[in-house]
């Protein structure tokens, strides 16, 4: 079992977080958040991976004839994708509204809420 996918997952999460922390554009920031979430997809799929196994679809497969990868994490990853789509859509809508009301999407120029 390779450790590489786990390192990749962590790297994706951290690089997304770094992008978020240093972002100069809110659309870019929302994209970075989606990158962070991609790290969770990679981690989930890595957890379910089995060496030499096939997809857990029994339509053309005799149960027990071959090892299959863990279908639970795939269900989790799918749910995660749905959650991510909702969050990204809503946040992008909010960014559009910020662009209309503040006339900017640079987080450095939003200064009404502080202290």
């Amino acid at each position: 079992m390779s450790v590489l996918p786990y390192l990749v997952a962590v790297w994706i999460f951290l690089v997304g977080a770094h992008g978020l922390a240093t972002s100069r554009n809110l659309i870019h920031a929302v994209g970075c958040l989606a990158v962070c979430q991609s790290g969770t997809y990679v981690l989930l799929l890595a957890v379910g991976y089995r060496e030499g196994a096939t997809a857990p679809v029994y339509a053309d497969l005799e149960p027990g004839s071959r090892p299959v990868v863990d279908p639970v994490v795939q269900a989790l990853a799918l749910t995660d994708v749905v959650v991510g789509a909702t969050v990204t859509a809503l946040l992008l809508a909010l960014v559009m509204q910020i662009a209309k009301r503040h006339g900017t999407v640079d987080p450095d120029e939003l200064s009404e809420l502080r202290g």
Partner: protein
Amino acid sequence: MKHLLPLVVAVPLLGAALLVAGGRRLPRVVAETVGCAVAAGTAALALLLLANSSPPMVEWVGGWTPENGRSVGIVLVGDGPGLGLAALASLLTVAALAYSWHYFDEPPRRHTGSFPALVLLFQAGMCGFAVAGDLFNAFVFFELMSVVAYALTGHRVEEAKAVQGALTFGVVTSLGAYAMLMGIALLYARTGELAMAHIGRGLDRHGGPDALVLAAFVLVLTGLLVKAAAVPFHFWLPDAHAVAPTPVCMLLSGVMVELGAYGVWRVHDSVFSGPGGVPEADLERVLVVLGSLTAVIGAVMCWYQRHVKRLLAYSTVAHTGLFLVGIGILTPQADDGIALYVLGHAGVKAALFACTGILLDRYGTVDEHALYGRARELRGVAVLFLVGALALGGLPPFGTALGKAVTEEAVGGPLTVLYVAVSAITAGAVLRVAARVFLGLGPQPGETPSPAYETTGAGEEPETRHRLGRVPGTMTAVPALLLAGALAVGVTPGFAAGVSRAVNEAGSGGAVTPAHWTPPGVLLGLVSTALAAGLATLAVTRPALLAEPGWAAPLRRLQSGHIGDYVAWTLLGTVLLGVLALPGVLGA
């Protein structure tokens, strides 16, 4: 009975779907009535289940029961704390919907159902999170309630501040949720289970804690503490609470933030409390250190606010810190105290927000200085606000005082001082607002040049169609009922004992000593209330004496309103969690 458990989530979801589907044709009054009826029905169902929650119910949805000890199904757990919080969330939802009765601007034509539908979705997310028995569904409901909360915070999309606060809230909380999901994936990798109790047993079978358990613990706790607004994850909360519509603030401060603390308790209790989990000393260190820090910073920032909603938001931060300390002490008695404290605090804080909403809609500002003496005419609201402030400080016999007293006895020593001081400072700040705004006491605060890092609360748009001439009956009845509820938590005979029994039955067991009033507890409650009154008097009569000292300015600058800063703080907080939890895992 246990088969009814999924309905606590399904009923509000169905109600929301109905409102969205039919909202285009329904007149406003019908849409709002349907919303209230569905929320109230869910509350009744949660209370019915709560009455039958001994012994705790476990429902495998769809009949996917475990085979040979291995499970793949979705499990809901209906015990005292879970169903109690579901009932609390539902009752507050009813209160928020009743408060917003004909309250908002006329909704855009053909969208009459959207606000009640969103509130019902929020209710479903909160109830689902409270009764979730497996970690992945806890994550899904966590995200459902968060996403709806972002939408509700930014509900007034025409307002610049509202959309900014909602985006900050959204980015920080979602990042925390993804960290939590990574932790859940690690736990699944180790144990092959998602149900919390099964994960706990799986970890114990594997032996002592190692790096993977520590990483999973830190990641899961990051998500929950972001929701609970613990320092340094708390920055989103004042920004979101200051801009959300008032009925939404009642829900956010009253119960959503507390659900984060509940999640910490639940996850520790079911997953990490065994020999394969995280040693108790570690959890205690993490929660007591972060909780104390949260309480102190929340209280200090609360005192130096003039934006009344932000002031109340920081007081929520401070009180959540107290809740985390109480949970971190890990004694059954402290758990009982915190349960009572959360119930009392929900009523009091929601009532205070409701009163602030009346000020906003009548005067178009929530700036303490601009409102000086203007609300003298609102006698009834003044009484409610004053009573709420005193109850926040722990005036017996309110539920807040009982919860605080029971927890103080459990924590003992210097932490008792923390409880008294923090509740006195936050209540003192609220009393100061009451004295200036409703009574016009003291000299009028001059137009001092405001620090660069301050949100004053001037120029806020009222949430109603017109500025309120006469305060509608619902808007004063709701805070009055909420305060009555907080009072009932403290005085109803047998209530505290029932809460203790339910909490201890759901927890790790141990001796049941029913929570009750004690003379030292009453005395400490009176002391903190008196201190609060003293602080408020001093602040009103001699403003210069308690003016902002130089050392508070850096603290203010941390709250920069910048998403990037808040994300950096969240990552730093995750590292801090790891450092605090490390020693015990190394020693194990």
